[in-house]
């Protein structure tokens, strides 16, 4: 298999942890809340998911349990940031640190153990195409993530719920004045974001690389946060951003196997470097941010 074929076949799977977490965060941020605890939620979801599969619970139970773990942390976040009106940045960091700590704690006795992932399902017909055929052989979670992407896109584009979420993110005072329960809606958005982060972590630890290593999320939660900005809070752009980072993480693998004379540490830092560069390019375009950004993002709101 050539390098290009390898990247094409693998990039959807590599993108899935970014995608799931970023889609969740998109809903949260659209509702006006900044959840910086994503990395910790993913890490805990990853540990819980791995343990469930390792102990014989299967992948379905693993994703459910990981989702609940993410929701648990999300509820702590919501209690402080929405209920007690604490600073969202500080609370996000706190919940993130807590999540990463809990992840190391529960995963402590599972270090370096491995499990089996999920089988790949081929899309009949398309999977036999030359070069791009590999893109159509993916596990079920990848296919479901694509469905979720389309569903979230459609929700923001066509549904009343999408409109209401955007309204409470743009101007919570006005939204409340016309009768929407801002805090309750934001709570649901945060819970959804937590569940998605848990799924993202579970995918990383039980399907994409089915092994447990402390710190295996390795900044993917933070990159997912950056992806929401890259995508200027639009579902389609976030999807392509996630694909780009999926491809990027595989490109470094290809470079290593092809024996390029580049230090592997430089290749490992490539996603972080690209994040910094792209972030600078996107955010320096103030018009773009103003057009698509969320007006009340990160501001506390209370009656």
């Amino acid at each position: 298999m050539s390098g290009i074929e390898f990247i094409l076949a693998g990039m959807l799977a590599a993108a899935t942890p970014f995608l799931l977490a970023a889609l969740g965060e998109l809903v949260v941020e659209r509702a006006g809340v900044l959840n910086l605890g994503l990395e910790g939620m993913m890490a805990l979801g990853a540990a819980i998911g791995f343990i469930v599969v390792y102990e014989g619970g299967g992948h379905v139970a693993a994703f459910v349990a990981a989702g609940f773990a993410g929701v648990g942390l999300a509820l702590i976040f919501a209690g402080l940031a929405l209920g007690l009106r604490a600073n969202q940045v500080a609370v996000g960091l706190a919940v993130g640190i807590l999540g990463q700590g809990l992840s190391s704690l529960v995963g402590n006795s599972y270090e370096s153990l491995t499990i089996t992932g999920l089988p790949k399902l081929a899309f009949p017909g398309l999977s036999d195409l030359p070069v791009v055929g590999g893109m159509f052989v993916q596990d079920i979670v990848v296919w479901l993530s694509l469905v979720a992407t389309a569903a979230i896109w459609a929700m923001f584009r066509y549904s009343r719920l999408g409109l209401v979420l955007r309204a409470i993110g743009e101007n919570p005072t006005a939204a409340r004045a016309i009768g929407y329960r801002v805090i309750a809606l934001r709570l649901w958005a945060v819970v959804f974001g937590g569940a998605m982060a848990g799924f993202a972590g579970a995918y990383a630890a039980t399907v994409y690389t089915p092994l447990w290593a402390d710190g295996m999320i390795a900044g993917r939660g933070w990159i997912a946060l950056a992806l929401v900005v890259f995508g200027t809070w639009l579902t389609g752009r976030i999807f392509f951003g996630a694909l780009l980072f999926g491809a990027l993480s595989l490109a470094s693998l290809v470079a290593q196997t092809e024996g390029w004379a580049v230090p592997s540490q430089l290749l490992s830092s490539l996603p972080y470097i690209v994040t910094i560069v792209v972030l600078g390019i996107i955010t320096s375009n103030k018009k773009l941010l103003k057009l698509n950004g969320v007006a009340s993002l990160g501001e506390t709101f209370g009656p």
Binding site: L36, G40, I76, G79, L80, L84, R85, A86, N87, V89, A90, V91, L93, A94, V95, G96, I97, L98, G99, Q100, G101, L102, S103, S104, L105, N108, D214, A218, G219, W222, L225, A226, V229, P263, Q265, L266, S268, S269, Y272, I273, T275, I276, L279, G280, I281, T283, S284, K286, L289, G302, P303
Partner: protein, 355 residues
């Protein structure tokens, strides 16, 4: 129906009580967690919270760890007050350690009293340089410093790995990812005989004093505070926001870099992978727990240092995984952020739900 009502003025009593209440809540919730893990709560409590203070040798280790936490947190708190969220102190610390190590790595035979001070200067420069990128990105490119500082930390870890596995690896080191052991003159003099506590802790206390003078007594510090609390008012008054961002990040990087240098030129004595045990992240908690006040931070740095030592004790005597300390740190910050709500708000119970 219970709801929050803003107080007429911030409650001073709550401001002092909040960290203590948070500590109590964190202790109780973590002991509960350890019980569910099947650990003996009494043994954990003893090892984690009492043992660090019971012998001179472990107390001196607490002092040793207070140094870097105090130094980094003072630097971060200045930025946090101006709402500049540098969460990449971990990377700035690592760069400080790398820059400082360059001297003994390239001049292993050098002697003289100038070496360790030069290493500290190098470290501070390295840390500040690592903060230049997020500062430039924020001021010129409008990019969020939280994400950029964090990414810079992840890159710093890779840079450290590269040096230790490649050009800076000790050729006589049995292939371990670590540099040569530094020469005697590269070590900061010991302050308290018979312990590992070195003169760098004086630097940390000096930093606390300077931060106190700057933040509480100078016009520059006042500009910072206004910039954080009321950015619009600060702009009308002509306080430059760009200047506040540059200063916050450079001071934060400078302090973290200095701490990193003091670590390799102090208790560790070489460059290795485990130079930082999460000091950069723990210092965020230290800064908040100290109420972002230079004197409060002295107390919270000491508490956090004791937790580190207590965690090591608990690992040995109560079979507690080292990650438990991070859980404790995280829950401490969660509890604190919950508690400080009541500095500005009070709970009011009403019989009828508000319309």
């Amino acid at each position: 129906m219970i709801h929050l009502v803003r107080r007429d003025r911030a409650s001073r009593r709550m401001a002092v009580a909040a960290p203590l209440l948070a500590l109590l809540a964190a202790i109780l919730s973590n002991l509960l967690l350890f019980v569910t893990m099947g650990k003996d709560p009494a043994a954990v409590f003893y090892a984690l919270l009492l043992e660090p203070f019971l012998s001179w040798s472990s107390f001196s280790e607490v002092l040793l760890k207070t140094g870097p936490l105090l130094l980094i947190a003072q630097g971060l708190a200045i930025g946090f007050r101006a709402k500049v969220f540098n969460i990449g102190a971990e990377g700035q610390f690592i760069l400080g350690a790398i820059f400082a190590s360059a001297i003994p790595v390239y001049f292993p035979q050098a002697t003289g009293g100038w070496i360790w001070p030069a290493m500290l200067v190098m470290g501070a420069i390295g840390g500040a340089l690592w903060a230049v990128v997020p500062a430039f990105w924020r001021v010129r490119l409008n990019a969020n410093e939280i994400l950029v500082t964090l990414m810079m930390s992840l890159i710093a870890v890779q840079l450290l790995n590269y040096l230790l596995l490649g050009p800076w690896k000790d050729p006589m080191g049995f292939n371990f990812p670590q540099s040569v052991m530094f020469q005697y003159d590269a070590m900061i003099p010991i302050l308290l005989p018979g312990t590992r506590v070195n003169a760098s802790i004086l630097l940390a206390f000096l930093a606390a004093l300077l931060a106190w003078i700057y933040m509480q007594r100078s016009f520059g510090g006042y500009q910072f505070l206004v910039g954080g609390l009321a950015p619009k008012a600060a702009t009308y008054a002509g306080f430059s926001q760009s200047r506040a961002i540059w200063l916050s990040l450079l001071i934060g990087g400078f302090a973290a870099g200095l701490a990193g240098a003091a670590e390799v030129a102090g208790p560790i004595g070489q460059l290795q992978r485990s130079i930082s045990t999460g000091y950069g992240y723990a210092a965020i908690i230290v800064a908040y727990l100290g109420g972002l006040h230079p004197l409060g931070i002295v107390a919270s740095a000491f508490l956090m240092a004791a937790l580190y030592i207590g965690g090591d004790n608990a690992m040995v005597s109560a079979d507690l995984p080292v990650a438990a300390v991070r859980v404790f740190q995280g829950s401490l910050l969660v509890c604190y952020l919950a508690a400080i709500t009541f500095v500005r708000f009070r709970l009011v119970r009403t019989k009828v739900a508000p319309a």
